[in-house]
Symmetry: C2
Subunit: 383 residues, 2 copies
């Protein structure tokens, strides 16, 4: 992935791995080691962790599974791992995790073969497999990532540690978390309150139903808290809750590619009544306030748009609107002080200029004075 630092493969059965000299033990390496990645059968992890401790390694990432998630014996093994690490003052990520990716170092210590594009999203996942699926998807969709962290069993480092670190990382503009269990609820909420003041924090919580919680319980061996309690606490401290992976990334992409609105009041521009109504319904459902236009804006809309157009909010520029009419309505909406964000809806009608309208919106967005513009171009090949 282009990592600039030194890498020391350790394997007692090999002399060379990927053209790098291979060591039989971490103790054979002469240089200092910052981080060790352990991906060996669970039974040997304790011995290797002990060696890492002796060597003065600062942190370990334990990919290996076979710990708390497998039952009582695994839980004992995990406890022993934590004891060793804390004795040597090593921090531990995992076990039973998929590692970490950082596109700015760059560093890819994960199962993902290719790196995602560099970007502003930091993603913390308690499910490694969900993480893999998401990485695969963002690479295809060319969505920019800054960091990806797979938490695994959270024997030591947990979502609070990584959220805090991402909160202080200027490369990261938005923090996404997929969580199944939150053990230190109070501390999580307090830390999230601090971080959410600086950048958006969005949580997708798995195990919110009783059946899902049961599945989560058998999966991570952790208790799952009451979702309603989480919801209330999250809302209070300004955490956004996503209801699906799709929603999580819709939020993330909107937040990283657009400025945050500076207040309440959204304007909707549409060339079709139905989609305008559906968008209005959704805004009300989500508690997003529709802007009330100033008298000046309203007058200008009335005087320049055709008589049949709706000049309230949503603004219906009508089915025969070409790019110039969209441009005019968008300019008026952005110029209104009460409007803090704009949604532009387009459906393909006979006269619609999809491409020219999109270009107008892109041009207008440059002088949008920090107001985000969201677009929904409905349809297939015509848009």
């Amino acid at each position: 992935c282009g990592y600039k630092g030194k890498i020391f493969p350790i394997n007692p059965g090999a002399e060379e791995i990927l053209s790098l000299r291979c060591y039989h033990s971490v103790l054979d390496v002469r240089e200092n080691i910052d981080l060790a990645i352990i991906a060996i059968p669970a039974g040997s992890v304790l011995q290797v962790a002990e060696e890492c401790g002796k060597k003065g390694v600062k942190a370990i990432i334990v990919i290996s599974a076979g710990f708390k998630e497998t039952g009582r014996e695994g839980a004992i093994l995990e406890k022993q791992l934590v004891d060793i690490a804390s004795r040597y003052d090593m921090r531990t990520q995992g076990p039973n995790c998929l590692g970490v990716i950082d596109t700015s170092t760059p560093l890819n210590l994960s199962f993902a073969v290719t790196m995602p594009k560099a970007g502003k999203i930091g993603f913390i996942s308690q499910s490694g497999a969900l993480g893999t699926a998401v990485l695969d998807w963002v690479i295809k969709e060319r969505i920019g990532f800054s960091s990806f962290v797979s938490l695994g069993n959270k024997a030591d480092l947990d979502e609070i540690d990584f959220m805090e670190a991402m909160g202080g990382d200027d490369e990261i503009g938005v923090i996404l978390l997929y969580l199944e269990s939150i053990e230190k609820g109070q501390k999580f909420v307090e830390k999230a309150r601090e971080v959410a003041k600086r950048k958006p924090v969005i949580v997708l919580k798995g195990g919110t139903s009783s059946a899902g919680a049961k599945a989560a319980g058998s999966h991570t061996g952790a208790l799952v808290g009451s979702f309603i309690a989480y919801q209330t606490a999250f809302r209070k401290v300004g955490i956004l809750l996503a209801e699906s992976v799709e929603e999580l990334f819709n939020y993330a992409v909107s937040f990283t590619e657009q400025p945050l609105p500076e207040g309440e009041g959204i304007a909707i521009i549409t060339n079709a009544g139905g989609p305008g109504i559906l968008a209005t319904d959704l805004c009300e459902k989500l508690g997003v306030k529709l802007a009330i236009f100033s008298r000046v804006t309203h007058q200008e809309l009335i005087s320049k748009l055709p008589p049949a157009a709706s000049t309230g909010n949503p603004i219906d520029v009508l089915g025969d609107a070409k790019a110039d009419r969209y441009r005019f309505a968008l300019e008026r909406a952005l110029g209104d002080e009460g409007v803090k964000a704009v949604i532009v809806l387009l459906t393909p009608q006979a006269m619609t200029e999809s491409l020219a309208t999109a270009q107008s919106i892109v041009e207008m967005s440059r002088s949008a004075k920090g107001k985000p513009i969201l677009t929904v171009f409905m349809g297939g090949s015509s848009v």
Copy 2:
């Protein structure tokens, strides 16, 4: 679009349209006319409707806008149109609509330039523009349509008439409705109860919020009923409610490409804990019951799957599952009497065989004994 019947273009200003002889008035045509499409300025519609009546036309579709949706004068014009039509015993679709498509006739009396692929979906839309966007999208996605109807102002024929017609049409396997207003609530619910016994009826209701209702009011000039009341009535008679256009078509595609489950009890198969939990959460949220496996099924899963696998429901076949392990789990799930439907989730892990797993699922679906199989392959280029 390949229509086999006769077409008579009417336009006082032309002698020929698309190589067809053009008539100055419908009264100049000698043959009988079943259906007239009127797409002229609103001011001339009444005269043409009168002529159609005299000619003995059985039904008219009024594309023209400029009626009830524009205000009081338009409403008067619309009333006059209805009076003329009823005097001559003509049925009217519209005004202010986008026409109709029927892929089996075939007949395309709409703004859509290309026809959608023939299929089992019947779609009734109170928003013409939403209809256009949907048509554009289904054509690109190659989703099969049987009929598309744009209701417009519903001066005469309304959603009840078309739902009834589609209910009796064997070409149509699922009926979708996008509605903003339902004037005859009681009658709609009664008719839907009958139709929903024969095939799924799915409604996306616009104007469910007060702001959305206001937007709908100014758009179609119709009052919008209380959504909560609709919800309750719909649930009672077996109508499914979609919350977005996407959901409407997800339902439609599932219903037309898969058998309907014959009872409650769904099995989830996954190679990743997180997505399994999210799916379980969603099932509980939507009131879908998870199947409880029989002792035999459970024993077989335990004896053949690796020890770390979850053999409850969801079945976690683990991250290293190849196609054969998916196939085994799917076979066991389908073989269980308590399982009426299966969801297969896949995330791309190092060992995952996406294509071979998909092929296994397709093969298994042939012997699925009428049990629907839904798949979610998460990720990007690897799946």
